[in-house]
């Protein structure tokens, strides 16, 4: 029951912390907060502010022309759509991978466990070239699909595959520790109270995993949105069809159109931030909902 207890404790702590001012147990709040703000400013806020500053040199009409052109709109659809789908697929299969790695003992488990991190370590260009070669019409995997009339490399499916590849570790690595903390006694208790296997999973295990799963989903989604290196190799990069937004930004930069590039970057930033924030809210809600129903 350890993780549930932990959540409860945290919840109580937050509740108590809200009313009282001097109830801080740990010293050094000001120092660490100062460090946090400085660090975040240097690493995140200032570069991001520069993006908005540069985009701000455009007039509203120019801005609209750049960010709402049909080519840009098509690229948002592909980037957000493929990143979302890839994160969704990873949420399902990543959960299964984490489950297998935590719950079962089998030969080669450590090897598979290490394999999960590979997409983190591999340079994305290498991943892109490898995937493009494998899934090309004359590649090992691609040639199996060619007779069926399915093309993978140089299509949107290719983009989706690359994004799935780079997103997998995020789900597995966020769900794994939570799953490891989860005592199998709860499942036994559920079973002894008459729940069938599906009910045990859906009503008992899944709610506890939801926050971690959402975090993993958000990370995988955000990572896939910004991915450039692997996608440009496996995508055919045709405007309106398979051009992802980061490539559109690169193209604008190479045309020396800095304001246009930053305007599109700013749109991506705002939308990603809104999406990540709503995922965080959802997570907070599910956390509360979850602890409330259990306690």
């Amino acid at each position: 029951m350890s993780s549930i207890k932990f959540i409860n404790l945290e919840n109580n702590f937050v509740k108590r912390g809200l009313g009282t001012k001097k109830a801080r147990v740990l010293p050094g709040f000001k120092l660490t907060l100062g460090c946090t703000l400085l660090y975040l400013s240097l690493i995140v806020l200032i570069p991001l502010a520069a993006v908005f500053f540069k985009a701000g040199s455009l007039s509203w009409a120019e801005l609209y022309h750049d960010v709402a052109s049909p080519v840009a709109l098509a690229s948002y659809r592909l980037s957000f759509g493929a990143a979302f789908l890839a994160a969704l697929v990873n949420a399902v299969f990543g959960l299964i991978v984490a489950w297998v790695l935590v719950r079962y003992q089998f030969f080669g488990k450590r090897f598979i466990d290490a394999l999960v991190d590979l997409p983190f370590a591999l340079p994305t260009a290498v991943a892109g070239i490898t995937l493009a070669t494998l899934y090309a019409p004359n590649g090992w995997i691609g040639q199996l699909f060619t007779p069926l009339g399915i093309k993978i490399s140089y299509t949107r499916i290719g983009v989706f595959i690359a994004l799935t590849f780079i997103g997998l570790p995020f789900i597995v690595r966020t769900v794994q520790p939570v799953l490891a903390d989860l005592d199998s006694e709860i499942e036994e208790a559920a079973a002894s109270l008459g729940a069938n296997r599906w009910q045990t999973f859906w009503r008992v295990i899944f709610p506890v995993l939801t926050p971690a799963l959402l975090t993993g989903f958000a990370l995988a989604f955000a990572r896939a949105l910004g991915e450039y290196g692997s996608v440009v190799f496996i995508s055919s990069n045709i405007p309106m069809k398979t051009q992802i937004t980061p490539l559109l930004i690169m193209t604008k930069l190479e045309e020396f159109d800095y304001p246009g590039a930053t305007a599109i970057a700013a749109v991506m930033l705002v939308v990603s931030f809104a999406l990540l924030l709503s995922i965080n809210l959802l997570q907070w809600w599910s956390n509360r909902h979850n602890t409330a129903s259990l306690s």
């Binding site: 049909p70 055919s236 990069n237 045709i238 690169m250 190479e254």
Partner: protein
């Protein structure tokens, strides 16, 4: 005491003069890797014999537009050897690190070697591609990089456009339609010439690659003459890859003299010969004759005569909302 100091300083300087090592950074475009590898060794030898100094040339390669961007963003190139004049113009506009009339500093528009765009097809030319209009045959799929990011692709686009102009009696609308039809048949737009060569040669995508002449020869050398054939169209464009000293950077590094000599030596017999060996068309007629077997004769139009120079062509065709953008507009 004072004399001692002077002697010391003099000694240090004498030592420095004696064992001077000059470092040059040459920022170039994608397919010149092999050319400059060979040329740098030759130049170092020549410079050592002439001045006694050692010169080490570092190379940087990539899509021409991207390379220009790196220089604009502060990459300290002593010389740039890019795919087209408009990329050097961009550096001039954004940084003023070289004078606006840079192209007049060296002979032949500052282009010591030229090239053109040819077709690379699969062995035996199964789709029967002989000229630009054959590209529009049904079932032909064309590989070429994105003109927005690749210099070679811009030359290829303009070559197709020039062909359409010449065959339609200079009907602009027809020429636009022609390039539009061509790009509709491109399944993969890579960002640079090398990327497209890999897509065509290694991944087996497409029936024809619109390639730099030297890149096409190199592909045959690399992958075997049993895999591909080179097809020379009836007309193509005279591509003039330009070279320039980035004056302010060279001055700062104290390399002005060496940088100038480095580019001038490209026009020497040895420089021209190395260019020809790497499948660039030399300017020197005698050497061009010697390597005539490598370069088929065809009608070559120039960017100045056909398109009114790079600045204009860049804006009309590849700028934001230009003809190339319109191809993909719904």
């Amino acid at each position: 005491m004072k004399t001692l100091k002077i002697i010391l300083v003099a000694l240090i300087f004498a030592g420095a003069v004696h064992a001077k090592e000059i470092k040059l950074l040459n920022v170039s475009y994608d397919p010149t890797r092999e050319l400059y590898q060979e040329y740098n060794t030759a130049f170092a030898k020549y410079w050592k014999a002439k001045t006694g100094d050692d010169v080490v040339v570092d190379q940087s390669h990539g899509g021409s537009g991207k390379q220009a961007l790196s220089v604009i963003n502060g990459l300290e190139a002593d010389v740039v050897t890019l795919a087209l004049a408009s990329d050097v113009n961009a550096i001039v506009d954004k940084t003023h690190e070289l004078p606006a009339d840079w192209q007049k500093k060296l002979p032949d528009n500052s282009a010591p070697y030229t090239s053109t765009i040819v077709f690379l097809v699969r062995k035996g030319n199964p789709k029967g591609i002989h000229d630009w209009n054959d590209l529009l045959k049904p079932g032909v799929s064309i590989v070429t990089p994105n003109p927005k990011t690749s210099g070679g692709a811009r030359w290829a686009y303009l070559a197709a456009y020039a062909y359409a102009l010449e065959t339609s009696g200079h009907d602009d609308a027809k020429a636009r339609d022609f390039v539009k039809q061509i790009y509709k048949k491109v399944p993969v737009l890579d960002s640079g010439a090398r990327g497209s060569t890999v897509t065509f040669a290694q991944r087996g995508v497409g029936d024809v690659l619109l390639a730099w002449e030297n890149e096409a020869h190199l592909a045959i050398k690399e992958f075997g003459a049993d895999k591909f054939d080179i097809v020379t169209p009836s007309l193509s464009i005279l591509a003039e890859p330009t070279v320039a000293v980035v004056d302010k950077v060279a001055k700062k590094h104290g390399t002005t003299e060496a940088a100038r000599a480095y580019l001038n030596y490209l026009y020497s017999d040895e420089g021209q010969e190395i260019a020809a060996k790497n499948f660039y068309r030399p300017r020197n007629q005698t050497i061009a004759e010697k390597y005539a077997a490598n370069f088929s004769r065809l009608k070559l139009v120039t960017i100045d005569a056909e398109f009114g120079g790079w600045t204009k062509a860049q804006k009309t065709h590849f700028g934001d909302g230009g003809v190339f953008d319109q191809i993909y507009q719904p």
